[in-house]
């Protein structure tokens, strides 16, 4: 199977803090990987580094996406190569409406079809003319993120805690939207992949993940079946992972 994302010996700092310490990671086309880990372990740092946020400085190592070394590419170049991200807490951009950002994204040559349907499915019709994330609830933010990604159509999507701030009723909606985004609602789409950070693991009830990893103190400490890992975490917390190192 072909590699979509390959990370080699990645060392990253943010401010004065070393947040990633020599991560090696491979994700093949068509796979969904899930990342677990305690607070402050480096999950979001890993995702933000993959997307190229300058706050996260790569000190050593390389990131390859679809065979191309993207370590020094900026955020928008990575997005145009086919990477997309759903933020845990996206910023509020008052002057730009959700409708406007969708227009801007589609103006980049991306496709527009089924947007109305997606807007309706994600229950965002009343939010299109509001400032981006301005007064949005947790669930509305997640749905807005997913709608933007549906328009953007990335090959690889990074999703940071899709369940946080979302009530139980809306988790199913978010889960379905992720499946739609990944083209996995019915048949597995071999051209797309996803890396999902989850705290609670609720999203695993909706998304058919292939592999799970635990990140502790900036290192990937173990990998395996995501459901097995989740059940281990539920039983013992991350204590054993610490010992595993």
């Amino acid at each position: 199977m072909q590699e979509m994302l390959k990370v080699q010996d990645l060392w990253v700092s943010a401010g004065n803090r070393q947040v990633l310490k020599g991560i090696n990671f491979i994700m093949n086309f068509g796979e969904i990987h899930v990342l677990f880990g305690p607070n402050g372990a480096g999950k979001t740092s890993f995702m933000m580094t993959l997307m190229g946020f300058p706050k996260y400085r790569v000190e050593q190592g390389k990131i390859f996406f679809k065979g191309e070394d993207i370590t020094s590419n900026d955020i928008h170049e990575r997005a145009r190569l086919g990477m997309g991200i759903s933020f845990q807490r996206p910023p509020t951009v008052r002057g730009i409406t959700l409708r406007k950002i969708i227009e801007i994204i589609t103006g980049n040559g991306l496709h527009k079809e089924n947007i109305n349907e997606s807007v309706k499915t994600l229950n965002l019709s009343g939010h299109l003319d509001r400032g981006l994330n301005d007064g949005f609830s947790g669930g509305e933010m997640k749905r807005s993120e997913l709608l933007q990604l549906m328009v953007q159509k990335p090959d690889m999507v990074l999703i940071d805690e899709p369940e946080s701030g979302v009530d139980i009723e809306n988790i199913a909606l978010v889960g379905e939207a992720i499946n739609t985004l990944l083209g996995k609602a019915r048949v597995k789409d071999p051209s797309r992949g996803a890396l999902i950070i989850t705290h609670t693991g609720y999203i695993l009830d909706y998304v058919n993940a292939d592999k799970g990893y635990i990140i502790v103190d900036g290192n990937l400490v173990c990998g395996g079946n995501p459901r097995d890992i989740l059940s281990e975490i539920k039983k013992h917390g991350y204590r054993r992972c610490m010992e595993c190192r």
Binding site: D74, I75, H76, A79, G95, I96, K100, I101, I105, N108
Partner: protein, 416 residues
């Protein structure tokens, strides 16, 4: 009919005494430096303007072919060169220069210097003593012309003082949109534009007024504006300044006299080079259930200084509601923004007045967020600044809207 003009001599006498009266705000200007007299002849159509003048007018929102316009008024330096009413709108409104209107209508004395004080300062006094025309636009009762009237006050020569007095009357139940472009044909020209504007919105009337100011680095501007709004009348003002100016100081006052009258000011300012900009709006809420709002968006670049003022004064004994929203982005370590909101309730027990003011940089977090959607850094900054400036101005031609966004994009990309 013989028009009684005795009242004019009283006004002249008052003005004469105020010729040295310095304005409360803004740097003092030596008007005597700009005494050049240039007279110009009439033109048959706006197509008759020189290429340079046409370009300046177009960039200030003027449609040279007069498409989608109900009428046009054009003044170059001190001369009225063009007044035209689209035939389709005859009987709905009238457009003429104020000099002709004063000799035609006796009743104009009830409007002339009634919304602005003639002796407010040396600039109002100078306009009265040395008036160089200005427009008079009146829309008749219950008429609602579909398209806006456009007016262009253009300065084409050096050392000119353009001293205009404008009056707009929106009669009962009528509606009018006006686009005014004030601009220079010579970018290096030195001079001063003194513009007195008195607007009257009668019962149930609506006036949408959009003003685009395109000045240059050696030019001073001192508008003096008063708007009187009667019962259920509405005044909506859009003001755009996106070019450098030596100095501009204006503080229009809307008098909400009637019950349920309303005024909304939307001010968009881009401070460039060493511009001195002092702008704002004052809303006086006199009528019961009056509503006012003033939104100001300022971006300060280079070495510009901008004062963004807002003043709400509640006087009614009934309910009233008004809000100031003043936000600024500073793009340069040599630029300054002063946001000065003021609220006053003069025994107005039921008044609800509020304000929010903020000054800050463009949030890097927002730029990166848009970049993660595949948008380049420059485009992200442009989208954020355009969104910040809230540029959804009604009746602005598409190309001008695009041009405004391009200016912002270039400026923001340069200074960040």
């Amino acid at each position: 009919m013989q028009v009684d003009t005795n009242y004019l001599s009283d006004l002249k006498s008052k003005a004469g005494k105020a010729l040295e009266k310095k304005a409360v705000l803004g740097p003092d200007i030596d008007i005597s430096r700009y005494a050049r007299l240039v007279e110009r002849g009439k033109i048959e159509s706006l197509e008759g303007l020189s290429h340079q003048m046409k370009e300046a007018a177009v960039m200030a929102g003027i449609n040279i072919k007069e498409e989608l316009r109900s009428g046009s008024y054009m003044q170059i330096d001190r001369s009225v060169v063009y007044e035209s009413l689209n035939k389709a709108y005859e009987g709905q409104l009238e457009i003429m220069n104020i000099t002709d209107a004063l000799t035609k209508y006796d009743w104009l004395k009830d409007y002339y210097w009634k919304a602005v004080q003639v002796d407010q300062d040396k600039y109002t006094a100078h306009v009265e003593m040395n008036m160089t025309h200005g427009y008079f636009i009146r829309v008749f009762p219950h008429q609602k012309p579909q398209f806006p009237v456009q007016s262009c006050l253009l300065v084409a020569e050096n050392n000119v003082s353009q001293n205009v007095h404008n009056i707009i009357i929106v009669e009962e139940g009528a509606e009018l949109q006006v686009i005014t472009g004030c601009t220079l044909a010579k970018q290096e020209a030195e001079g001063v534009h003194l513009g007195v504007s008195e607007f009257y919105v009668k019962k149930g009337g609506k006036l949408f007024f959009t003003m685009i100011h395109n000045w240059a680095e050696n030019f001073h501007v001192r508008p003096r504006t008063g708007i009187i709004i009667e019962e259920e009348g509405a005044f909506i003002n859009n003001y755009v300044l996106l070019k450098p100016v030596k100095s501009i100081q204006a503080f229009p006052v809307a008098y909400l006299k009637g019950e349920r009258s309303s005024a909304k000011f939307n001010t968009i300012v881009l401070g460039l080079r060493d511009s001195y900009i002092d702008l704002g709006a004052k809303i006086i809420l006199d009528g019961r259930d009056a509503r006012g709002e003033s939104i100001t968006r300022t971006i300060a670049a280079d070495e510009s200084i901008t004062y963004a003022r807002g003043d709400l004064v509640a006087k009614t004994t009934g309910y009233c509601l008004a809000h100031l929203d003043c936000r600024g982005i500073v793009l340069s370590n040599k630029a300054k923004i002063f946001a000065i909101p003021e609220l006053a309730s003069e025994g107005s027990l039921k008044a609800e007045l509020s304000h929010e003011a903020s000054i800050g940089p463009i949030a890097e977090e927002q730029v990166e967020y848009l970049m993660s959607r595949g948008i380049s850094r420059d485009d992200a900054i442009s989208a954020i600044t355009s969104g910040f400036l809230n540029l959804d101005i009604p009746y602005i031609p598409d190309f001008l809207d695009k041009n405004i966004k391009e200016v912002i994009k270039a400026t923001a990309a340069d200074v960040l």
